[in-house]
């Protein structure tokens, strides 16, 4: 480190001396008369662009001279964290991408697996966090645009999208703005493309307040033989740019936004956020798929982060060829753009194709029919050099960059950051939770919540929605303006009146968990996401078998455009509980996979592969990198245990604001295969009189739970344990029962525990339940513990014995809980002789609260 810095700061002569000594095995430059920068200036610019002194020296060594301005920009982008994965590469080698059905693993625009009968799916998940934190609508919209391009680049027609979102809590106006804007942005882009958004997840936690997460997943369907790769080949072939013109938008997106922490200046980075044009993208999809099908493309790649630079250099590098581009031939939407601006612009909706000269006229013709721009901007060469020229310059000075293509794309620096176990882990994992139980025993639980409810009512919110916000404190005549910025009470009341309401509520539900249960149902992390997916077209394509709101989405494998239909399906889900990962990154990452698989098994799908989107803080901080390392190891180990390959993914670092990192959030997108869509199982109870069975076992595990967060405002304890083999057996048993059509419903038991899982099945089916819990654990844990490997199923009375036989044959624990019944959610506790009611609420109350909570929170004025 210090060597490099000293050498450069000593001036150009020393640098060239060093460079002169290095024998590099790289192709010779095409042209020598290139305008290079003065050594001091070059170093200054390099540092400003985010390169380290060492990396700058590496640039000089690679070039064997000082770089030009354009070259420096290109290196800074290609070697940015976002493009080069320089901090994560070593860790990512833990993942296995192998599997008989894997047609394309990581390294391409998206991974591809075979799903049988000659069909294949391409899928990937990618982050667009920093742009969205600055400008939520465009940030989220272009996130969708980018991931969709990654999919059709592979030759697949995009048929489904999902989104994994994280925000701060909704009592903050800024968070409501971000959430509302991101959802609208995703909808506006995806809906226009005619690609159904079929699922996803959202969590609201303080840790994401300064740095929301927008992870977009997309999946495309193709015939196996249609798989296309972005490998440039054939010297003499044309390099063709298709789609939008190039402007100054998004310059430095990858290096400025994605590879740095947020600070006060973040707002000024708004110009680095790109603006999306979904109509152009829709045309691009049709043009590219048509030309791919006609065999007119040798290679196809999309322009994402670092724009033309990364797309062209990666294409050349993969094919072991050179590429020669004239920036003046790039259609520009702004005047006087510099070569480096054209090369690094992140203008959206652009594709780069390699086309044989004899096919160019056909490509042009198709593009013109769709009204899409298509320009030859260069050609493939056999020099191995990445050459950029500007034909507007004098003939002898046209070359503005001349770099070894392979070095650029593949030889980025690789770091092994330091790690240290964060101090908070021991403290929080061993946090004494006795008071949680005592609070129940001493019967002060209801009083705690009742006060919040009383406050909420005065604010004009539904009582239990307001119960989420403990900050709404009454100070006599007005609410403290600390959390509910701008919120006004709907009536003036005295402190005595608040106390009276509190007392009445408290007495009303004394000695039961009704108030706690309803507060949980209204929790933004649990309540219905209908407000979100109602804004997404989730049916276009006529293949959506299971719509959002279920454990996993299911799409028929079929191409409506070709009238090719099958009875098989694809199931998909995104999962990650960041709070678990914060409290135990290894276990949390494993649970993310286990839950994703469980969601698939509930609908009857066999998990086949995952994509991941690893969102973490600044990797240069040892504590952050420790969490990253642990999460990767946990996920990789669990994937290997279940033989599930990781076929694509994305790492997003520097998710910090003002020095505070987000929760480690290794989100996964998991895809499975349904053998017969007619056998798909959903989570809703179907009719009265069905038997309700808990598969798996509830343990006394309240650590990291939604319960202690909602009721006690605490994030602490150890996440629930995970037995990889038990998880596997429970899921195998459920899949067999589903495929035999023995189940009426199956629902994953996760956040909020058993009480919430039962309530969700009741609400979805609009039918009540009468349930008796008999586990010898405290009531509060029996209701709300988030023990893993549990699934709540229902079956007809006639099928009950056969279902129990299957469960017994897999040797998994289970208990018959009760039956679907009436219009109340009734849960009681049995200690062998006596029965004690724990929860008794009307289905109507639960349903309204569950369905309306999120919308109410978003609409707080």
């Amino acid at each position: 480190m210090s060597d490099g810095g000293d050498v450069v700061s000593d001036g150009g002569d020393v640098v060239s001396d060093i460079v002169g000594d290095i024998v590099q095995d790289i192709p010779a430059p095409v042209c020598d008369n290139i305008v290079t920068l003065d050594a001091e200036l070059a170093k200054k610019i390099a540092l400003e662009l985010g390169l380290t002194a060492d990396e700058f020296l590496n640039v000089v060594r690679t070039q064997q001279r000082m770089p030009s301005l354009t070259e420096l920009y290109i290196y800074s982008l290609m070697w940015s964290e976002h493009c080069s994965y320089k901090h994560s590469k070593g860790q990512l080698r833990h993942f296995s991408s192998k599997g008989k059905h894997v047609l394309q693993g990581p390294g391409e625009n998206a991974g591809v697996i075979s799903v049988g009968d000659g069909w294949a799916v391409a899928f990937k998940m990618e982050s667009h966090n920093h742009p969205s934190a600055i400008e939520p609508f465009q940030g989220a919209a272009t996130g969708i645009g980018g991931i969709i391009r990654d999919i059709f680049t592979m030759g697949a027609r995009p048929i489904a999208a999902m989104d994994s979102l994280r925000f701060g809590t909704l009592d903050k106006p800024r968070q409501r703005y971000l959430f509302d804007g991101a959802v609208a942005g995703i909808g506006s882009y995806g809906n226009c493309l005619g690609i159904p958004t079929v699922g996803g997840e959202v969590y609201f936690e303080d840790a994401y307040e300064g740095n929301c997460l927008i992870n977009a997943f997309a999946l495309g369907l193709m015939r196996e033989e249609e798989l296309t790769r972005a490998v440039g080949s054939g010297p003499g072939n044309y390099v063709v740019l298709i789609g939008s013109s190039t402007g100054r938008d998004g310059i430095g997106g990858a290096s400025v936004l994605a590879s740095q922490e947020f600070d006060e200046a973040a707002e000024n980075k708004r110009p680095a956020v790109q603006v999306g044009d979904p109509f152009e993208e829709k045309l691009l999809i049709e043009v590219c798929l048509e030309l791919l099908k006609a065999g007119k493309f040798v290679a196809l790649g999309d322009l994402g982060a670092a724009g033309l630079t990364s797309s062209a250099s990666e294409m050349a590098s993969r094919g072991g060829v050179g590429i020669d581009i004239d920036v003046r031939k790039v259609p520009q939407r702004e005047d006087a753009m510099q070569p480096f601006e054209i090369m690094v612009s992140e203008s959206q909706e652009r594709m780069l194709a390699v086309v044989k000269p004899e096919d160019f006229a056909d490509a042009l013709d198709t593009c013109q029919r769709w009204g899409v721009s298509c320009s030859q901007i260069g050609s493939i060469t056999n020099t191995g050099r990445f050459v950029v020229r500007d034909s507007a310059l004098p003939a002898d000075a046209q070359i503005v960059a001349d770099m070894p293509a392979e070095m650029l794309a593949e030889s980025a620096p690789e770091y092994t950051p330091q790690m240290s176990r964060p101090a908070y882990l021991d403290k929080l994992q061993s946090y004494p939770l006795d008071f949680v139980y005592e609070c129940v025993e001493d019967n002060i639980l209801n009083e705690v919540i009742a006060e919040r409810i009383a406050n909420a009512e005065i604010l004009g919110l539904d009582a239990f929605v307001g119960a989420q916000f403990k900050g709404a404190q009454f100070n006599g005549t007005r609410f403290k303006d600390t959390q509910f910025k701008g919120a006004q009470p709907v009536k003036d009341v005295t402190a005595e009146e608040v106390a009276a309401i509190t007392a009445a509520l408290s007495a009303q539900a004394k000695a039961s968990f009704d108030i706690a249960f309803l507060s949980m149902l209204a929790s933004p992390n649990i309540c219905s996401r209908r407000w979100i997916w109602r804004q997404y077209d989730h049916q276009v394509g006529n293949n959506t078998v299971v719509v959002p709101g279920a454990d996993a989405a299911v799409l028929r494998i079929g191409d409506t455009g070709r009238a090719e239909m099958t009875c098989r399906g694809i199931a998909m889900s995104t999962d990650c509980n960041g709070r678990y990962c914060y409290l135990d990154p290894y276990l949390g990452a494993q649970i993310a996979l286990a839950e994703g698989m469980r969601n698939l098994s509930c609908v009857g799908a066999k998990p086949a592969a995952i994509t991941d989107c690893l969102n973490f803080g600044n990797p240069e901080k040892p504590e952050v990198f420790y969490s990253f390392h642990k999460a990767v190891c946990g996920l990789a180990t669990a994937c290997k245990h279940y033989d599930i390959p990781v076929i694509s993914g994305n790492v997003s670092f520097y998710n910090e604001s003002f020095g505070n990192a987000i929760y480690p959030t290794p989100a996964i997108g998991i895809v499975g295969v349904v053998e017969n869509i007619a056998n798909v199982c959903t989570s809703d109870f179907k009719q009265a009189g069905d038997t309700i069975i808990l598969v798996g076992e509830t343990l006394d595990e309240l650590g990291a739970s939604e319960y202690i967060k909602v009721i006690h405002g605490l994030v602490a304890g150890k996440p629930p344990s995970l037995d990889l083999q038990l998880e596997n057996d429970v899921q195998s048993a459920i899949r067999e029962a589903v495929s035999c059509r023995l189940l009426q419903s199956a629902h994953d038991c996760s956040e909020g525990g058993l009480a919430i899982a039962i309530a969700e099945s009741c609400i979805a089916g609009n039918i009540g339940a009468k349930v008796t819990l008999a586990e010898p654990i405290p009531d509060v844990a029996a209701l709300f513990a988030e023990s893993q490997s549990r699934i709540v199923i229902s079956c007809t009375e006639a099928n009950t014995d056969r279902v129990l036989d299957i469960l017994a044959s897999y040797n998994v624990p289970f208990s018959i809980l009760g039956e679907t019944f009436g219009n109340r959610i009734y849960v009681e506790k049995s200690d062998g002789s006596a029965l004690t009611p724990l929860v008794d609420v009307s289905l109507e109350t639960a349903l309204k609260l569950y369905n309306d909570s999120l919308e109410q929170m978003v609409n707080i004025k």
Binding site: G194, W533, T560
Partner: protein, 264 residues
């Protein structure tokens, strides 16, 4: 062909504008019902060979400027207008409905939803007693479950137009519960002749058992009667009421009866 559909195979033309995205779904639904369907590129103008024309949903021209405002000027629209004015059947679904209002083939306009949000959800539709040729009159008063999926589905027209729509039996569908702020809960209307029908809900999404219910089949399975009727009128040159003009039907190109195959 499914047993529960009509016994006549029709040839539908499904217009594709840049940005249309439900054309494949419509074709899929029509195929399920045993019909033939071809895509008609927005620059094509030859429609005479089709028994009926569908303007599908989507975001033609990105819905930039105003939904349907640009598509209305596509070359195909002149032909669609002539086709409609000749009394031949045209259905516009969602964006297709918006285009039909922009082209003045249907009255009124579709404003942004009252809640200013895109809405994708199931909707219960009450079939009104109307002059619409696309739905079986026997369905009047019944309720069909058909999803909506739009940002601008809030139907509006002035009081005089509304009175005319009511008086002439042009209101075809109403939402059972207020959905998007539509005037009088209007979900679909037709022209005075009943041959041009625009609706915001997506019947093509509920034609396939594999993905849900089949209430949408009613929207594509009755029109053959009207087509047979106008074919027969044309053949017998029964052009008394002026709504059918054999010149506008491009009868020099194809005898339209030739497209209607009566299944055995």
């Amino acid at each position: 062909m499914s047993a529960d559909t009509n016994a006549v195979s029709l040839k539908f033309g499904v217009v594709v504008f840049p940005g249309s995205n439900c054309e494949q779904d419509v074709v899929h639904a029509l195929h399920l019902l045993g019909h033939e369907a071809n895509y008609v590129w927005h620059q094509d103008t030859e429609l005479a060979c089709y028994d009926a024309i569908v303007l599908p949903g989507g975001f033609s021209y990105g819905d930039y400027l105003r939904c349907g405002a640009v598509a209305r000027f596509s070359p195909v629209m002149e032909s669609v207008i002539a086709y409609a004015n000749a009394g031949r059947p045209v259905i516009g679904i969602c964006n297709g409905f918006q285009i039909l209002t922009e082209a003045k083939l249907l009255a009124g306009a579709l404003l942004q939803n009252r809640n200013l949000k895109f809405i994708c959800e199931p909707a219960s539709l009450i079939v009104e007693k109307s002059v619409c040729k696309w739905l079986d009159p026997k369905l009047a008063g019944s309720v069909l479950e058909v999803p909506i999926n739009h940002n601008e589905g809030n139907y509006f027209c002035d009081a005089k137009t509304l009175a005319e729509l009511k008086e002439n039996g042009q209101i075809v569908l109403r939402y059972r519960q207020a959905a998007n702020g539509s005037l009088d809960n209007i979900a679909g209307i037709c022209n005075r002749g009943g041959n041009v029908f625009g609706l915001m809900p997506h019947p093509e999404r509920v034609c396939d058992f594999a993905t849900g219910s089949t209430d949408g089949r009613a929207f594509f399975s009755y029109i053959f009667r009207y087509i047979l009727e106008i074919a027969s009128n044309t053949k017998n040159n029964l052009n008394k009421n002026g709504s059918l003009n054999s010149d506008d039907l491009n009868s020099d190109d194809n005898n339209i009866i030739g497209n209607v195959e009566v299944a055995q």
